[in-house]
Symmetry: D2
Subunit: 312 residues, 4 copies
């Protein structure tokens, strides 16, 4: 039986890193540790196989193992969202069926990312897929990776199907996100979730439902506290926590030269904090070498941490 | 004598549209009307010859006339910021001297916009220009138009010269803007101003100093009220006013197919509201034709307006 | 036993469209027809599961069926190149093993296309994959789809492994391609192949080894004739054939509004010419409707065709 | 009296570097030397104030001086083309009038480069400007700098005005250029000129009229020889000269990290060859420092040069 959730899905739903021991080897023990760490930290859901979870870098076999193990470990405690973004509609639906069979709560799909689609083509793609999906669907906007941006009108058109229950935005374009929120205001049960943790506080203050924040892999309590403060309209507390979040963002995610810095830094920090064992990053990337790892350790040392947790 | 201002410059500083009767004809009477309208609306400064002011589309003769007339009409009541963005450092400095002579308070400069520059080249460009500038300088980030984004480190490097007093961001990338705010936190007198009005409220809630919001040409009271609410940490009021701001954004700025929709819509609405006489837009653009003009009128009719003002 | 080929691989190697009857249904009869049509037309190799072959839109099951059936039908007559571009190195290698088992001659791989990689990361990705590959490798440059461009130095670095036997460029940036040709001149057995048919003639005139031209699905003789003329340095004949190729390019590939016009137009024309039965295009796209199909028929009617072939 | 030319303008028309002694100081003696060097080298026209000529970085005063001095020195020997690209239609027309007064042959204009325009806006911009222009007009496609690409249909629409006599393409997208050539084939007097020297040979082989090649500042004879060979259909000779052109391109234009490498390298080489005195580059750039200058000297040393000329 799938874990259900009350719409709109709200709160901090971390995009789990995928603990690996090799390109095709899931580290199940670390996954257990990570999930217990997150649940203990008070998060409101688990989001697996997203960009942070390296979905596209993993074999389908491993993706399925990840779905199965996550649902087994979670054991119905939290909603599980499974990213099934793919360039092949057939493979997306296959993954969604695995997710349903394992007891996940919903699937998440960014636009197909090889061919760029026009807006009508994008809407039709989801309209074609929805009848085949055994679970509710969240749309996922990630234009830097998929080369197309959902227009607010396209989101509204797709959301006319009630199986579509929310939207995660990782565009970093917040005037755009405000337009989406405004356009979707007639659908109050439709969840509006923010990707980048640097702006989740301000977006929740103005009505967003929560954040899918990578930093919560390291410090779930911090992001949950930020969410709670924003939800309560406590601007001063949001500001205070924002300073810590920005310290993380400008240090841990900024080591290294390429676009992969965020991912490598996050996994490296998780391993240094003991949340996962190894920071192996799947191809096309490699984990940090010692010099970068030391810089991540130094960044952690400057954070107000006690017993592995941010002092709140 | 130049009008001075207390740093950090704060509040709503509208980017004035430039009232025109032809490609090379300034409508001085409309400019008088516009400035009185803005001052009566409570704005905190005047920003001329920015993107909204069509600087690049205007002859240098007209740019100088605009500077001179604005300073004359303002008569020292508000700080006047003059955009001197140019591809030629010589012409930027020439305009800055005119601005100083006329009594403006500061100049504003986006990166040179023909050749794209690397970050060190960008810093050196400002370091070359600063000794020649007779007024304080605000940096202006407008990557969609100038093809380069100031890195937070570059901003900090340039701001080591104390003539550099603030930064306006029109990138729409708010995680980036949060990084800039965090990076500049050791310089509390450095003004951090937001371009897009759709996010000014949330950015001021979290510490930004104000907004350079085009919509204030139409409805200065609305944006001032939003600024005041955000400054006071009144989240509910910000949310309430944000709904009106988003209604404006998703209607008045969204008629027409090209990137010029914002500019044409804003000038058209200003003329329909009687703030300026004609909505002539300088080449390479033309003002809206009748069908688009009617759609703008309909959008205005749906706003809660009384006597030309938003009912607050 | 794999069909081998003499390096550098030269000539016209069409990127086969994948004949489909549904998102997950290969039309094997049409594939037989297509391959016989191409071989009769004198092409020098078969390139399957590329961009034109909709690799990314197809399930892995169907990709494997396509490899197996192509190799069966080809029966060793021509070199078969199998595109194994993937975001997962594990799945790329899996497909390469299937290709080897079926008797293909080589594999082709564009950069991983979800995460964008830096140049050193890109080189390392191929260096990681090469030991696992059972077949020679062609690199494939497709920056508009994969968001990264192989620098000439990166190509040279990867090509130090002798398993790497060529490069296909679909960047459309021909000054860049000239730089690649110049940089690779010390490896005369390394094949330099051009994607866009609009420039294959001129590139072969100046030393490229051939073209992977989509139009050859329709009219293999035309592209083979153009290749032969260019190879022989017959500029006048290249120019004459170029006019027909440009007529095709500016008509058949230009119906419809989105980036998918090329693919939809090509499959539509192939079906109208009887080369394949149905022009079904896999999700996220749909084949043309009747009005667009009529425009393709009209474009074909204006070409100098007799018995389904361009009159040469 | 203006120097006239026979349409279509054909051959090598170098985009002159602007010899400078400071941001606002033209080096007239070097300009004289450069022009005599080019005329002695057999070029077919002079193109001033283009991208290579740093038009946008120069004050209007200096631009006018450059026009006046060039026409004086040229003294009617060659057609002079003056780039008047601007964001302000008023300033473009002002420069065109200066050009006409000084005896130039034609003006050249890329799209306005601050606001990006849609295709109909782009056509209207030129249709507005043409009645004001006292000289024939060449269109100039430079999408990397101006953010918009002329569609072939837009070029054809603008060229319906017979004052429009040609098109220079610096897009580097040669399938696109082939489409332009094909689309314009009904206007045989319309000149089709290529910017990047790396592809001028192949484009002239297939029908283009010539090249506006920066390298001709250094070695006019080389580019003229390449043009002549291509015009004569001598593929082998084009190939032979292409190797030297590619050696220049991959060495002299590739020192330094930013997009400015081409400009800095070209000016540096010109000064090392004695064609101009100083390689001062106007803001926002600086000329190369000693280490980069040494690398340019080394690149020159590896070229087959005798008495400052490439041995042909």
């Amino acid at each position: 039986m799938n874990t259900t959730f009350k719409s709109p899905l709200s709160g901090i739903i971390p995009p789990l890193v995928t603990p690996l021991l090799g390109n095709d080897t899931l580290d199940v023990a670390s996954l257990e540790n990570l999930i217990e760490h997150l649940i203990a930290g008070g998060v409101h859901g688990l989001f697996i196989l997203g960009t942070t979870g390296e979905e596209q870098s993993l074999s389908y076999r491993l993706r399925k193992e990840m779905i199965k193990e996550t649902c087994r470990i979670n054991a119905g405690r939290l909603p599980v969202l499974v990213c099934v973004t793919d360039t092949s509609i057939v493979e997306s639906v296959n993954l969604a069926k695995v997710a349903a069979d394992c007891g996940a709560s919903a699937v998440v799909s960014a636009a197909p990312y090889y061919f760029a689609t026009g807006q009508p083509e994008l809407a039709e793609f989801y309209e074609d897929m929805l009848p085949e999906l055994p679970l509710p669907l969240f749309l996922y906007n990630m234009p830097s990776h998929v080369k197309v941006n959902f227009s607010p009108a396209t989101i509204h058109r797709i959301a006319e199907n009630e199986k579509v229950v929310g939207f995660k935005d990782s565009s970093a374009n917040i005037p755009y996100f405000q337009s989406v929120m405004y356009t979707m205001k007639d659908l109050p049960d439709f969840a509006l979730l923010m990707g980048p943790e640097e702006v989740t506080g301000e977006c929740v203050l103005l009505g967003a439902n929560g954040g899918i924040n990578g930093g919560a892999n390291m410090f779930p309590e911090l992001y949950v506290a930020m969410y709670n403060a924003a939800k309560a309209g406590d601007v001063k507390e949001v500001w205070r926590l924002q300073q810590i979040i920005m310290q993380i963002s400008t240090t841990i995610y900024s080591v290294g030269k390429h676009g992969s810095s965020y991912l490598k830094g996050l996994k490296c920090a998780c391993s240094l904090l003991g949340v996962i064992k190894d920071d192996f990053v799947a191809a096309p990337f490699h984990k940090f070498n010692e010099p970068e790892r030391r810089r991540i350790q130094e960044a952690l040392d400057r954070l107000p941490i006690e017993n592995g947790k941010i002092i709140l």
